[in-house]
């Protein structure tokens, strides 16, 4: 800090001063030094005010105000606070107020133009703000001989070697195969697929399998999860109303784009600004649903302007986290405390997203619990044959539910009236007319009749409400739509919202990008399209690093930067900086932004293929395994745990795409919420209940319980890395959730059907189906005796196999990659 002053004092940058004029160095600086720097130096920055450098002094304060306005003492906050009469509010807060002479000097200085000589000091550039360059590969370590290593391993081995560690032995082929299946498809290999590999467990064969896996359509279903967490994709609005919203065409777009290996720069541009591309295709417009995934508050009485501000702020923060690895959201209320992003720059970024139409409006006016209504741009999407088949199922479901309700209602009504003439005579003529209707009653008619005749029959009321929910679902499918982005013709002015309060308008700003990052090319339009291109400009020092870091997280469970949402100065330093840069540059230059190419390199590395087994000596040197001396096995995601159980039980539906599915969950998990829609959960029937987790309904306020228990986020906001907890609720879920119990039962039936004739064969087959590898003798014995004990007690082979299935599906190894 003092260095800065030396620097400043040594500079002769002062403009020529007229005689008697205020001298900043001589007259102003000493006042500030003596009175202000305890709280307002470049370290403490109280209230966002720093008075020891040109850089901080000229930034707006946390409140979004300028400290001094050249030539206008009356508008200068600096002067207001020292002249304040209330000692509670006056600066400095302790000690004597400034003398009148000192105040006069400040006033005169501001009057004369408030010239603060630029000392040239700027916050030092953090490593992540410097563009990565391709580091040269370290010499291959001898420990990598005969390990089919690649560039990744050179970096890993060099660091291990420097720390007196070595890479683990190669994992056994069965575990390797399960690992790579789960990492690419999110599904385990079958016993036959394992056998096929075991016949010829060579690196060449492995490479060929990786190739096949990367081109499987299941790849997109697995890898979509990570992106959908970032995109906060959900099937409901969030907040109190939490109404259903139709966004699934976007989810399918992500799956398809990943399967097609759409280069990440294009993948980004289409999602951020597909609508602004010349002659945008339907697919490119669907992609823009990415930012329409932000939660919306449709609670009655909400101010649509406030909602708009919140939604745009969400888009700004999400964009910052994904493509810049920065917590730009911090600058919503004040200058970023640690990274070079001022509140003004935040709102310049915000302005790129502020030019979209309003998305909500009050339904009606005045009192009435009328909710807000969604009015944002929506795209009707062309239907496919698949869509129509989903629709047929929903239509059948709806018809059946309606007929049943109609029948039950009439029956109960008749029962209630009985043969009583008194009741019959007392009935309202419209009710009598409804009862006499020969044709099917409409939903509204059913409601009216129920309320008139059976007002206390809640069971009937719920049944009718469920019919209505089914009707709405069917309607949504028939009008296949998705919310998209659209640009307003006329520019909406963006103002700095002081302290993040959207009503406290500060200075107006225009779209712009933070000065500390790469320049915004002049030929780019100042709109979302320009922003998108700027974000995926190879000159962006952060885009590739954050991308490959996320890739690393998905495979190794932790990033090379362990704070993936923050590459800024408060984030952790990379464990392997050269490797991170090598992967980043390679991803952009060599792989041309291809996820699959970069992923293939990781999957083929010796680092990936090594064993998970631990060792006391090594564990002492690097207890957290930060240097990767072993493969860090870790727990599977919520969706993969379910998908795997579906796969091994044989229940898994291969159906891709389409509206969300609703796997079984107990009654009463969804409960009535005041002012909310859809209080009742109607489970999917048939095949639809057994689709992959990526298709499971994502309701923000009522998250599917087993997913919530296994740390799947509710997607109210962008999540870069999921938590991985280990709780008793997880044990209860795997043991007792009726969905998992059903899968265990189906698995037991499969063991009986496909596992062979002898118990030995059945145990082996079941074990290998669940875990790919063969059981050790001790494991086999244990399972056999568990089976025998239940068989002996119950006399039921079915129960004994169910025991076997339950045990296997509950093992730590089953819900982990090892």
């Amino acid at each position: 800090m003092m260095n800065r002053f030396k620097h400043l004092i040594g500079l002769a940058l002062f403009p020529p001063l007229s005689a008697g004029a205020i001298d900043f160095d001589k007259d102003i600086l000493p006042i500030l030094e003596a009175n202000c720097l305890d709280c307002h130096d470049g370290e403490t920055l109280k209230g966002g005010v720093g008075l020891d450098s040109y850089y901080y002094a000229t930034l707006p304060t946390d409140a979004g105000e300028s400290l001094f306005v050249p030539g206008k003492p009356a508008e200068s906050v600096l002067l207001h606070v020292v002249e304040e009469s209330d000692p509670e509010k006056r600066m400095p807060p302790k000690g004597d107020p400034l003398t009148s002479g000192e105040i006069a000097a400040l006033r005169e200085w501001i009057d004369a133009g408030a010239v603060w000589p630029d000392d040239g000091w700027r916050p030092p550039l953090h490593w992540s703000f410097l563009a990565p360059t391709l580091p040269s590969l370290p010499e291959p370590d001898p420990m990598l001989a005969d390990r089919h290593s690649n560039g990744i391993d050179y970096f890993i081995a060099a660091k291990l070697s420097a720390n007196d560690l070595t890479i683990n032995e190669e994992t056994d082929p069965a575990r390797l195969l399960r690992r790579v299946y789960l990492d690419t498809l999110g599904l385990p290999p079958t016993v036959e697929q394992v056998d096929e590999f075991l016949k010829n467990p060579t690196f060449a064969h492995y490479t060929q399998i990786v190739e096949e896996l990367l081109s499987s359509p299941s790849f997109g279903e697995k890898w979509a999860t990570q992106w959908l967490d970032l995109a906060r994709y959900a099937d409901s609005e969030g907040y109190q109303r939490d109404a259903p919203r139709n966004m699934w065409p976007y989810r399918d777009w992500v799956i398809d784009a990943l399967n097609a290996d759409m280069p990440f720069d294009q993948f980004s541009i289409e999602q951020l600004a597909g609508d602004l591309l010349p002659e945008a295709t339907e697919s490119q417009r669907i992609a823009t649903a990415f930012h329409r995934n932000a939660p919306t508050n449709l609670e009655a009485g909400t101010d649509p302007e406030e909602d708009h501000y919140k939604v745009v702020a969400d888009r700004t923060a999400t964009t910052g986290m994904i493509w810049m690895g920065l917590t730009v959201g911090c600058a919503q209320c004040h200058n970023h405390k640690y990274d070079p992003i001022s509140a003004k720059e935040y709102y310049e970024l915000f302005a790129f997203f502020n030019n979209t139409p309003m998305e909500t409006k009050q339904k009606g006016s005045g009192f009435g619990m009328s909710a807000l209504q969604h009015i944002g741009p929506t795209l009707a999407v062309a239907q496919t044959r698949d869509d129509r088949s989903f629709e047929e199922v929903a239509a059948t479901h709806y018809r059946e539910a309606r007929e049943r309700a109609d029948f039950n209602l009439r029956e109960r009504a008749a029962e209630m009236i009985g043969s009583s003439e008194t009741i019959r005579e007392a009935l309202d003529p419209s009710t009598v007319k409804l009862m006499a209707t020969k044709t099917a009653l409409s939903n509204q008619q059913m409601k009216t009749l129920q309320r008139a005749l059976l007002p206390r029959d809640t069971e009937m009321a719920v049944e009718i409400e469920k019919v209505e929910i089914s009707a709405n679902r069917l309607k949504a499918m028939r009008e296949k739509t998705v919310r998209v982005m659209e640009e307003l013709g006329e520019t909406r002015t963006t103002y700095i919202a002081k302290r993040g309060d959207f009503q406290a308008r500060g200075e107006a700003v225009t779209p712009g990008t933070p000065a500390a990052l790469h320049p915004f090319p002049e030929n780019y339009p100042k709109n979302r399209l320009g922003l998108a291109r700027w974000l995926v400009d190879p000159a962006n020092p952060l885009v590739a690093r954050t991308f490959v870091n996320r890739l690393w997280i998905e495979i190794f469970g932790r990033g090379l930067v362990t704070t993936p949402e923050d590459f800024g100065s408060q984030g952790e330093l990379p464990t392997h900086p050269e490797l991170l840069d090598w992967l980043s540059v390679t991803f952009v230059e060599k792989d041309a932004w291809s996820l699959k190419k970069s992923l293939r390199r990781i999957l083929l590395s010796a680092t990936y293929r090594q064993s998970v087994s631990s060792n006391e000596t090594r564990a002492q040197k690097d207890p957290k395994n930060q240097l990767l001396w072993r493969h860090p096995g870790h727990r599977l995601s919520a969706e993969t745990i379910r998908d795997q159980a579906l796969a091994i039980s044989g229940l898994l539906s291969p159906r891709m795409h389409g509206p969300h599915s609703r796997p079984y969950q107990p009654e009463g998990v969804w409960r009535k919420t005041a002012g909310a829609s859809e209080s009742y959960y109607i489970p999917s029937r048939g095949e639809d209940a057994y689709r992959r987790g990526v298709y499971t309904i994502w309701r923000r306020n009522n998250h599917y319980p087993s997913f919530a228990n296994f740390d799947a986020p509710d997607r109210a906001a962008c999540v870069i890395q999921r938590d991985v907890s280990n709780t008793p609720l997880q044990s209860l879920t795997l043991l007792n959730d009726p969905a998992f119990v059903e899968m265990a039962e189906a698995f037991a039936e499969r063991i009986a059907r496909e596992g062979g004739r002898t118990l030995d064969a059945q145990v082996d087959w079941a074990f290998r189906t669940a875990l790919s590898r063969s059981p050790k003798d001790s494991e086999r014995l244990l399972l056999q005796s568990a089976h025998e004990s239940v068989l002996g007690e119950s006399g039921s082979k079915q129960k004994a196999l169910f025991e076997l299935a339950t045990i296997l599906m509950n093992l730590h190894e089953s819900i982990s990659r090892s």
């Binding site: 952790e572 919420t673 997880q730």
Partner: protein
Amino acid sequence: MTSTDRDIMGRRQFLTRTGAGVGSLALGSLLQESAGAEAVPEQFRRVAPKAKSVIFFHFTGAPSHLDLFDHKPVLEKYDRQLAPKELFEGKRFSFLRGHPKLLASPYEFTKHGQGGNELSSLLPRLGTVADEMCLIKSMHTTEFNHAPAQLFFHTGLNRQGNPSIGSWTTYGLGSESSNLPAYVVFMKGNTPGAGANLWKSGYLPSVHQGVRLRSEGDAVLYLNNPEGISRDHRRRTLDSIEALNQQNYELIGDPEIQTRIDQYEMAFRMQASVPELNDFSQESKATREMYGKSEFADQCLQARRLVERGVRFVELFHGDWDTHSKQESRLANNCAEVDQPISALIKDLKQRGLLDQTLVVWGAEFGRTPMLQGDDSPEKCGRDHQKDAFTVWMAGGGVKGGITYGKTNELGNEVAENPVEVRDLHATILHQLGIDHERLTYRFQGFDQRLTGVEKATVLKEILS
């Protein structure tokens, strides 16, 4: 590795993200056995804890402070007359439009006990414990719609995705129970608008989320074994699972496997300890009668049983208090339902010597306007949402009883004295638990996040005994 190393690593592994060392200790005690007071991490402590547990009531929809706690005689004078312009001009309301009228409270207010806390005739039994209560009449918030305001009241922020005060508490202090969740949630009536976000752990590790005790089906979701599986059978299944997990651990050495074994054991214990909560056969007749007979009364009694068993944070949601219309009948019904059980709970805790170590909090997302909403008639009228002034109260846990803190203006629409921010309330609750709110941090998105946020929060020293 020695077993101690392994334990420490096991605990550490809960936190798969780095840089939260302190939390990992608290977390360990949350789920592992024998966590006593000594497990409370020093870093968070500043003062000796007064309270060990919190019972946190949230009245969803927002009760009218003007009809329950904050008596405004001036309103009686101007009942159903046009409101002065300063009450609504330039302010935002959810539903009030045009020029609204004022609405007096139809209830009588009486001073109770030695401290003279004033309560309306809707809460006669609470009057008998008024000397335990500290009324805070000067609460205010920033949000005037339910979901954002509920989120703000629970998490300090108006958006979804942040940890609730219950999660922060268990993150800070862990649990003293090895067979019950540390943070338990009850609901009576509608689910609050912000849903599970109110008891979720946000960016804190998900072990800190509240666990809902349900009154239908399994008390804890998936607590009961599938049909036909006895407890003995389940024990044997778990023995097999654990034996196989143990073999895997010996091969791989991953401490997460040990934790997994512990979690299956805790699940098994929960299967016995959770149903026991609802078994009131050991409660005396007098106790049962004191609480009364209703779903909410049972929940209040269970709350006492939970804190007795070392559960750290119990939250009870009660809805629906959103009285835009038909306020008179709705308030009367709601108050009749909660008055007896809550006063019984306070007496019961006191009798057992638990009140000193249990902080009871009555809260809501905001208050209601002195302006009338809807139809003029007493049967139909109601009040709109009000963010600028409302009442909460606390009892026990080292808070002074029989006092009132803060004041609103004549009409009860703004704070006149000693304003209390939601973050002040949070800081005070944590303080009573022995936690320094400025030190209770969790690293996320590059920051040491706090429940009380970046702006200054003040512990309400004046109300502490």
